[in-house]
Symmetry: C2
Subunit: 457 residues, 2 copies
C-alpha cells in the first residue's frame, strides 16, 4: 500500500486534478491520497488557504463576508465545472463553509483553525467526487471519524499516540481509494486543530506510518530535491537518494521542498519516502531512506539559511566558573529565546540564535543582565549572520571533507565567523556574514559537485 | 625598573645562585628580584618545597620532625657553605623553621601554607645575604611589611586590589636590590596564604604591575618558549615574540613554561614580559607583548592537552526547546563540574569537560538525570579525547588557516571529533582521540612551521 500526498500546486486547477487522478490510477498500490488545499495556478494567484484566512478575518471583524466567501467558492466551482462534476459537490462545499462561519463565537483561534482547514477538507471531498465521476471506487475520509487525534495547540497540533492505532484500524480495512484531507486533526473532545507549517506533509506522514505503507509518495512541483538552491546555483544536480537525517539537516537550513518534521512519523516506522513531480511523474524523483551507501557521494547537499544573530560574551577564566554557561543560558531562556549554537573559546563564548526572535529591548535587557550578573569583560550583539551547511552522511569521514570545504571557502575569500562540527555526524556548519552566504554556497557546491573543476593554486 | 623572577632550578645550588647574582649585576635596571624556593639540582633531586611538605606532614601526624627538618636545613646549608656565607644566615633559617613548627595547631591548611611558603621566604633571605656578601646593596623584603594582601583561600590566594597601592608605595622608594619571596601573601588579618600553582610567577607579575616596571623578566631553564612541545616535535622553533592572548591559549593547552594566570597582573598594567634562561642569559628569549605584527607568522604555536571526556546528548528538535541547554548545564553544574566546550548540531549537543573532574558515580547520575529530566533520545559519555590547538593572532584571517590545518590533519589521517572556532580570534580547537594527539601536533607543526615542505597531493 502506498500513501500519496499532493501539494497545493498539484491540486490548483482542473488540469492538475486530472494529472493527479491519472497518477493514482497508474498504480493500484496508490490507495490513500492525502490532499492539500488548492494552491496557486500562476505566480500572482492566491492560495485557497489565504482566501480562507481573509474570509475568517472578515467574519471575526464582523465585516461583510460575502465577497470573501464568493472568492473561495468560485475556486472550487471552476474546478468542478471544468471537471464536469455535478453541482451537488458545490452545494456540499457551500453548506460546509456556511456552517463553519456560524462557529465564530467559539474563540478566534479555534475559528481560524476551523476555517483554514476547510481548504483541505473540501478539496478532499471534491477530489473524491471527481474520482467517483471517473468510475473509480473512492471515498472521502473524515479525520474525525477515523480518529486522527491531536493535542489542543491551535495551529501547532501534535499527533497523539492513539491516533496511529485508530488510523490503522479504520483505514486498513476500507476498500477503494481513500481521499484524506491534510493539515488538521481533532482533539479527543472533538475540536478541530491544524498542524504547523507543512501540515499536509505531516498528515501524509502520519497516515503512511499508521497504515504501515511500503512507500510514502510526496508529490510536489519539482522533479527532485536539488543539491543546492537553484536560485543560488545554476542547474544544481538532483539528489537521487538521501537519508532522513540528511533531509532533516537540509530542511533545517532552508531547503523548502519538505518540511522536515513532517517526515518523523514515517521515519520512525521505517516507511521510505519518495519525492516526485505531479507534472512529470515519470521522473525518478528523490528517495528518502534510512541508510544509503555514502562512499560515492559523501556530501549530499549544500544549504544555507540567513537571519542569525550572535551574542558574544568574553570573561577571563569563564570556563573555570562552575555555572557560568548555565547562568548565561538562563538569561536567554528568561526572554523566551531558543538558541542554535554556542561555540566557545577559552575565555569567550557566543550564543547564536535566530534574529527573528530578538527585539531591541530584549537585546538591551540581555546585555545589561549579562554585564551585571556575570561580571563579564565584554558582551555585545552582532547581526546579519547566515549558517551555511555541508550535509552528508559521509561527514563521518569528515577529515577530508572539512579540509575540502575550508580550502574552498578560503579560495572564495569567505571569512568564517564560526565553524561548528562536533555533535552531528551529518553536517558541518559555517557561520558567515549574510552577504557572503551565496558565494559560500556556490563555492562549496563547486567543490563537492562539479567533478571536472581544475585545481586553483 | 625591571622585575626579575627566578624559578626553582635557577636557585637550586650555589652555582645557580652565582649565575643569578651575575645576571642581576649585569643590568642596573634589575632592581627587584622575586625568588622561588630552591628546586631540583638533578633529575632525581627533591625540591625544597616537597621537603617542606614532608616536614609539615610529619609535624601534623605528630611524628618525628628532626630528619625531615634536617633535610630542609641542609639544602640551605650547602648553598651557604659553597657561597662562603656567614653561619648567621643558617641560624636565621633554623629559627624561622622552628618558629613555624610551633604553629601547627592553627589549623592544618594554615600550617601547610605557612610551612610551604618558608621555602621561598628563606631563599629570599639567603639570596639577599649573598648579594650583600658580594658588596651589593640588597634587602630582603617581607611581603607582610610591604602589604601584599590576598584573600583567605588556602593554597589559592587571590590578590586584593589594595595590594598594588601598598607595593607601589613601599617598593618604589627603596634603594638597592630588593629580594622578594614568591608564592605567598597575607590576609588583612595577617594570615599567610599561598598562591595556586605557578605562585612565584604570580608574585613577580603582581610586583611588576605594582611598581609599573618597564619589563618583567621571568628567568627559567629554557632559552625560550617553543612553537610545540619538544617531547612531541623534534627541535621545534623558538617563539621570539607572542602576545599575552597567545601565551594564555598555549598555557591553557599544556604549555608548561608559564602558568598563564600569572601573567594577568602584568598584562593589565601593560608591562611586557620576557622569558629568559638563567643558564644562557645572552639568548634573546621570548617576549610576551600586547600586540605583534602577525602578518609574517599568523600562527605562533601548536599545543595539545589530553584528558577530556564528552557527554553526548541527542534529542529531536532540542534547539526548539527553550531552556534545554540551560537545563542540561544545570545538571552538570549540580555535580560541581565546569566544562570547556559545548559544540552542537541540529538535534544533538556535546559537553566537553576535563575527565579528572568526573567519577563513575557522577557519570551515572548525570546520564540518568539527562535521560529522565530531558527525555532525550540518546545520552552517553566518551573518554580519552585530547584538544589540539592552533594558536596565533593571525587566526583573524582564519579562512586560509582553517583550510591549511584541516588539510594537514586529513593528510595525516587524524579523525576530527570536534572543531570549535567561533569565539576566540586567537585559536582553533580540534577534538581528537588521545591516541591521535601527537600525530596531529606533528602534522600541524609541519604545516605551519616547516617552510620547505613539498606539497603532497
Amino acid at each position: 500500500m502506498k500513501v500519496c500526498k499532493f501539494g497545493g500546486t498539484s491540486l490548483a486547477s482542473a488540469e492538475q486534478m486530472r494529472k493527479v487522478a491519472s497518477i493514482i490510477r497508474a498504480d493500484q498500490e496508490r490507495r490513500i491520497v492525502v490532499v492539500s488545499a488548492p494552491g496557486k495556478r500562476f505566480k500572482e494567484d492566491t492560495k485557497v488557504t489565504d482566501l480562507l484566512i481573509s474570509l475568517a478575518e472578515a467574519a471575526l471583524s464582523n465585516g461583510d463576508v460575502e465577497d470573501a466567501l464568493r472568492l473561495v467558492v468560485s475556486r472550487y466551482e471552476q474546478i468542478a465545472l471544468e471537471l464536469k462534476l455535478s453541482v451537488e459537490i458545490i452545494d456540499i462545499i457551500k453548506e460546509d463553509l456556511a456552517a463553519r462561519l456560524t462557529m465564530k463565537d467559539d474563540g478566534d483561534r479555534e475559528f481560524m483553525d476551523l476555517m483554514k482547514a476547510s481548504g483541505e477538507d473540501n478539496c478532499a471531498k471534491l477530489f473524491s467526487f471527481y474520482l467517483q465521476s471517473l468510475g473509480v471506487e473512492a471515498e472521502y475520509i473524515d479525520p474525525k471519524e477515523v480518529g486522527l487525534l491531536v493535542s489542543k495547540e491551535y495551529g501547532n497540533a501534535q499527533v497523539l499516540p492513539e491516533a496511529y492505532e485508530n488510523l490503522h484500524r479504520e483505514l486498513r480495512n476500507k476498500e477503494g481509494i481513500l481521499v484524506f484531507p491534510g493539515f488538521f486533526g481533532y482533539t479527543p473532545e472533538g475540536t478541530l486543530i491544524t498542524f504547523p507549517r507543512g501540515g499536509s506533509d505531516i498528515t501524509g506522514s502520519i497516515v503512511a506510518a499508521a497504515v504501515e505503507a511500503n512507500l510514502y509518495e510526496n508529490f510536489t512541483d519539482v522533479d527532485s530535491v536539488f543539491a543546492a538552491n537553484p536560485n543560488v546555483v545554476q542547474n544544481p544536480v538532483e539528489i537521487k537518494e538521501l537519508t532522513y537525517r540528511e533531509m532533516r539537516e537540509l530542511s533545517y537550513a532552508g531547503f523548502s521542498v519538505f518540511h522536515d518534521e513532517a517526515l518523523i512519523p514515517a521515519f520512525k516506522k521505517g516507511v521510505p519516502v519518495s519525492i516526485k513531480n505531479t507534472n512529470n511523474p515519470g521522473a525518478p524523483g528523490t528517495m528518502v531512506v534510512n541508510e544509503r551507501n555514502y562512499m560515492i557521494n559523501p556530501v549530499v547537499g549544500i544549504a544555507s539559511d540567513s537571519g542569525f544573530s550572535t551574542i558574544y560574551v568574553r570573561k577571563y577564566l569563564m570556563n573555570r566558573e562552575v555555572g557560568f554557561g548555565r547562568h548565561l543560558l538562563e538569561i536567554i531562556e528568561d526572554e523566551g529565546l531558543s538558541y542554535e549554537h554556542m561555540p566557545s573559546g577559552i575565555d569567550d563564548t557566543s550564543i547564536i540564535l535566530r534574529s527573528s526572535q530578538l527585539t531591541l529591548e530584549m537585546e538591551q535587557r540581555i546585555v545589561q543582565r549579562i554585564e551585571q550578573e556575570l561580571q563579564v569583560d565584554d558582551v555585545h550583539v552582532e547581526h546579519d549572520f547566515a549558517m551555511v551547511m555541508v550535509v552528508g552522511e559521509g561527514m563521518r569521514k569528515m577529515v577530508g571533507i572539512t579540509a575540502k570545504a575550508t580550502t574552498g571557502l578560503a579560495r572564495a575569500g569567505v571569512n568564517l565567523h564560526m565553524i561548528n562540527q562536533g555533535s552531528s555526524e551529518v553536517s558541518m556548519v559555517f557561520g558567515v556574514k549574510t552577504e557572503d552566504a551565496d558565494k559560500a554556497v556556490r563555492e562549496l557546491y563547486n567543490d563537492f559537485f562539479v567533478p571536472t573543476k581544475s585545481p586553483v593554486h
